[in-house]
Amino acid sequence: MLSPERLALPDYEYLAQRHVLTYMEDAVCQLLENKEDISQYGVARFFTEYFNSVCQGTHILFREFSFIQATPHNRASFLRAFWKCFRTVGKNGDLLTMREYHCLLQLLCPDFPLELTQKAARIVLMDDAMDCLMSFSDFLFAFQIQFYYSEFLESVAAIYQDLLAGKNPNTVIVPTSSSGQHRQRPPLGEASVLEGVEASLFSQCLENLCDRHKYSCPPPALVKEVLSNVQRLTFYGFLVALSKHHGINQALGALPDKGDLMHDPAMDEELERL
């Protein structure tokens, strides 16, 4: 019942870190919102139902964006809901534009920001082809990475830019890191000729980032694996690799494997009934 981490933190921080507070606050908030109706069928029942829905991941349906992105669990739930609801669109083989995907997202979350969708689309498409059509699976996996790890990716982007500019991000971000190791690496001049940054150096920086990052980030081992396959890579190259990595998808746990993306027998059954 008592996890070892529990003892490492004061109660309050522990609850906050585990997002328990978020849900409790939200529960009370929901209760406030509909107090007349809820009081009719029981506050206790409401709380049961609320936390049940949190467990099932249905609590994010049609909620405001600030809530949906509040916790990793919410994000995963939203990804799953999105997949579940619009899997049929992908199954039908329709290719849609970024804006149309955005509209679908907005059906589930009315104030979903366009910016996020754009970023996700940029992983799939080239910068100058943002109006192109995308397949459902391409978009979904790119969107998953972008949405779930959005803070992490922002940090990565900053590191990437620093590397590209020839700065050693480690001196900024982690002053105590083993800079000696870096000195033996080929000079960065070579990197500037080629596109992107050197993979191993990038990997090093990301490892440090994952250690310190307070938001969720992909499993460091998997990030390492992604980066170990190539010599050099660009930022978007990295994102594409992340989005296509089924291990990361599994670790995230919101969506099925790419191969099974179109399968959802339970829902198909429901659909048949309709």
């Binding site: 004061p10 109660d11 309050y12 609850l15 507070l21 409790m24 606050e25 939200d26 009370v28 908030c29 929901q30 209760l31 406030l32 919102e33 509909n34 109706d37 809820i38 069928y41 409401f46 139902e49 609320y50 049940n52 829905s53 099932q56 249905t58 609590h59 349906l61 049609f62 909620r63 405001e64 600030s66 809901a81 579940k84 609801c85 619009f86 899997r87 049929t88 669109v89 039908n92 329709d94 290719l95 849609l96 534009t97 804006r99 149309e100 509209c103 679908l104 907005q106 059906l107 009315p110 104030d111 829902m267 429901e270 659909l271 309709l274």
Partner: protein, 752 residues
């Protein structure tokens, strides 16, 4: 008086009955107020035939050809008193000259006898006159013959002299005949008017059918009243300055190109300019007595100044080149005109000819020699009224159209400004302008029907329509048949008006242009109430960008057709929008989207694509969320649903379906609704506030709880030691039994 007489004459002529023909020369200028009357009663068939011919010529010369030129020709053996024929030629006017001073000039003397006598003379080859009674001798001047009559002749016909068909090439010198009143030179070859200046008492001068090229030599003939110069070669009207008493002037069959030098002829009653080369009519000022003007067989294209002729009663314009009423519109201003002809003009071929003429010339009694009946006049006025109305209507229509176009342009400009589209798309704007200029024509296919006023009354009157089309600068509302068109967001306010039941019932199509969809959403409930029959919704330039916006339409009562113009509605570019509409608005079972029939396959596809969304929304949404999403209006039904949920599944399904029908909308779709951006943001603000409170509340609670927990934990830690201590204390206390007992006893007694 005169017109009546005239009519009877022409009527008789047409009927080929005997004709009374009078030329009345009224000489009011004469001091003794003399009246000369020639009454010519022609019973002879040949003459009536001739007259008939003249009348026919005037009335029906389209059939007859140039009758006049032929009829008086010398080959006609039985040509009668040429003067009289000429008089008829003039106008078929009764010639009645009364002269009180000339008692001898009575009816008997002038009528048939004189005619027959002259006729006789004519019959014996003209010289009858010259042979017996008239003697033509060479004068002292070599070129001019001198005419002398015998004294008997002079006594018999003291005041007239006929020199008809004498093959004269010049005018003879007429001596000793100063008292002559009537002089006839018909059918000669005279080229110049000469040698008559001494005949100062001359009243009647007939030079018909000669070869005169210029009017001259008449300056002394101040008494002249009738001047007949028909069938000559005159090119110009001139030298009539002194003939102030002229009553009849016949210049037909000449080569005159314009009317001039006649403005002093204030006594002129009859002017014949038929068969000349006139291209237009003007310069008619001063002819204050003119009652008849013959202008047939010219090339007249327009007529002016006729309204300056106060006495004009008959105007003959047959066989000219008049093609529009505008070119003769001055006729409408003449109050005296009672008889007019236009036959043989292009205008007479027009369908509007008769009623236009009659409508504009109410004073007319005869048109093209036919009596204008009351019926015709009424018809004309009806037709004209209709025409006028039509014209006014079309004018108003075009005015409205223009106004509408401008307004729409204005609204479009405002809209563009609002959408921040102006600066970067100048050509685009042009396109827009042209687009919107097309719009009205499309929308205006039918007439603008009545539009209720604020009072709500329905009136199909034009004024109302004009007023109804409430055009302001920022918006436009229009009811066109069954279509209500709204341009600009201001137009939405019109839904607050009291629409008449009829109009509201008639409107089946509602079209929105240049209005934010979010604004439209706010008035949808009103629309539902005010226009219950609206089945077809049209959106153009309404900023429809999201699929979820269609959710808002679900609240309407019925929608059969939906038209979303791609212009200004990016949502139409989506692949799935139609299916989403079909899915979300499936309870309307729509028939057409953007003009395309909805097929069964479309419906199935829509369900397949979005069915899961609906299922998830209905089955997986926690109840507390459902409650907050569904509006109060739906809560009742929802509660019903909730209650049935607990029952057997099979039963539930059926009842579910029932209630679905009851609600008219799939409840599983009801979760998918649309709140406009503003409302949503407002709600987010509210939630923020609540969240803030909740956060504080929770913080306090959690803090309290953790504190309790901490205390509890601390207690838990201390408790074993405390317990041991407590036990030890107790044991020590009771170890000495006696002293303890004493102590207890002591305590009890103390209490007492």
């Amino acid at each position: 008086m005169i017109p009546g007489k005239y009519r009877s004459v022409s009527g008789r002529a047409a009927n080929n009955v005997n004709c009374g023909l009078h030329l009345v020369i009224q000489t009011s200028s004469l001091p003794e107020k003399s009246k000369v009357e020639f009454k010519l009663n022609k019973e002879t068939p040949s003459f009536s035939g001739r007259l008939l011919q003249h009348d026919l010529e005037r009335n029906y010369s389209s059939r007859q050809g140039d009758g006049r030129v032929i009829s008086p020709s010398p080959c006609n053996k039985s040509s009668f008193i040429s003067s009289t024929t000429n008089v008829t030629e003039l106008c078929g006017l009764e010639m009645k000259t009364t002269m009180s001073s000339l008692s001898a000039f009575g009816d008997s003397s002038i009528q048939t006898p004189s005619k027959s006598r002259i006729r006789q003379g004519c019959h014996s080859a003209g010289p009858n006159v010259s042979g017996d009674h008239i003697h033509l001798a060479s004068s002292s001047m070599p070129s001019f013959p001198i005419l002398q009559r015998s004294s008997e002749e002079k006594i018999l016909y003291s005041d007239r002299l006929t020199l008809e068909r004498q093959k004269l090439t010049v005018c003879p010198i007429i001596d000793g005949e100063e008292h002559l009143r009537l002089l006839n030179f018909q059918h000669n070859f005279i080229t110049r008017i000469q040698n008559i200046s001494n005949l100062q008492r001359l009243i009647f001068l007939d030079l018909y059918d000669n070869q005169i090229e210029e009017i001259s030599g008449l300056s002394t003939l101040r008494s002249l009243r009738v001047l007949l110069l028909g069938k000559n070669r005159i090119k110009q009207i001139s030298n009539l300055e002194n003939l102030k008493s002229l009553d009849v002037l016949d210049l037909h069959g000449n080569q005159i190109t314009k009317i001039e030098n006649v403005s002093h002829l204030c006594d002129l009653r009859v002017l014949n300019l038929a068969r000349n080369l006139l291209s237009h009519v003007d310069n008619l000022n001063g002819l204050d007595s003119l009652t008849e003007l013959n202008l047939r067989h010219n090339q007249i294209t327009f007529v002016r100044d006729v309204d300056n002729l106060p006495c004009l009663q008959r105007l003959f314009l047959s066989f000219n080149n008049i093609s529009t009423f505008e070119s003769v519109c001055c006729l409408a201003d003449s109050s005296s005109l009672s008889d007019i002809t236009f036959d043989g003009n292009p205008i007479a071929q027009e369908s509007w000819y008769k009623h236009t003429i009659l409508q504009n010339m109410m004073q007319l009694r005869q048109l093209d020699m036919k009596r204008v009946t009351e019926e015709e006049r009424r018809m004309a006025s009806v037709v004209a009224k209709k025409e006028e109305e039509k014209k006014r209507e079309s004018h108003k229509q075009s005015l409205l159209k223009e106004k509408k176009r401008l307004t729409i342009n204005n609204v479009a400009r405002k809209w563009d400004l609002q959408q921040h589209r102006i600066p970067n798309i100048a050509p685009n704007q042009d396109r827009k302008v042209s687009d919107s200029s097309q719009d009205p024509s499309q929308l205006h296919g039918s007439t603008v029907s009545a539009f209720p006023e604020e009072t709500g009354s329905l009136d199909s009157g034009l004024a109302n329509a004009l007023q109804g089309l409430s055009v302001t600068d920022t918006h436009l509302v229009e009811v066109d048949g069954d279509t209500l068109s709204l341009y600009g967001s201001g137009a939405l306010e019109s839904l607050d008006r009291n629409w008449s039941v009829q109009t509201a019932g008639m409107v089946t199509t509602v079209s929105f242009t240049f209005i934010e969809f979010d604004e439209i959403v706010q008035v949808l409930p009103k629309l539902k109430i005010k226009f219950p029959n609206s089945l077809h919704l049209k959106f153009k330039e309404t900023n429809l960008v999201m699929l979820q916006q269609f959710n808002a339409l679900a609240q309407l009562r019925r929608v059969d057709q939906l038209t979303i113009d791609p212009q200004g509605n990016p949502v139409v570019n989506f692949t799935l929008w139609k299916y989403y509409v079909l899915f979300r608005l499936s309870h309307f079972s729509m028939q057409k989207i953007n003009g395309t029939e909805v097929t069964q396959n479309d419906m199935i596809m829509a369900e397949r694509l979005f069915g899961i969304l609906a299922h998830v929304a209905s089955s997986e949404l926690p109840q507390y969320r459902m409650i907050s999403i569904l509006g109060d209006a739906r809560k009742k039904q929802f509660r019903y649903l909730l209650e049935t949920k607990g029952k057997k599944p099979g039963l539930v399904n059926e009842e579910n379906n029932d209630s679905k029908r009851l609600v008219g909308e799939n409840t599983n779709r009801a979760m998918l609704n649309y709140t406009t951006r503003d409302v949503y943001n407002e709600r987010l603000e509210e939630i923020k506030e609540k969240k803030k409170f909740c956060k504080m509340y929770m913080e306090d609670l959690v803090k309290e709880a953790t504190e309790i927990n901490m205390k509890n934990e601390a207690l838990q830690k201390l408790w074993p030691q405390m317990f041991i201590e407590l036990v030890r204390d107790a044991v020590i206390e009771i170890r000495n039994k006696n002293s303890y007992m004493k102590l207890c006893l002591q305590q009890i007694t103390d209490q007492k």
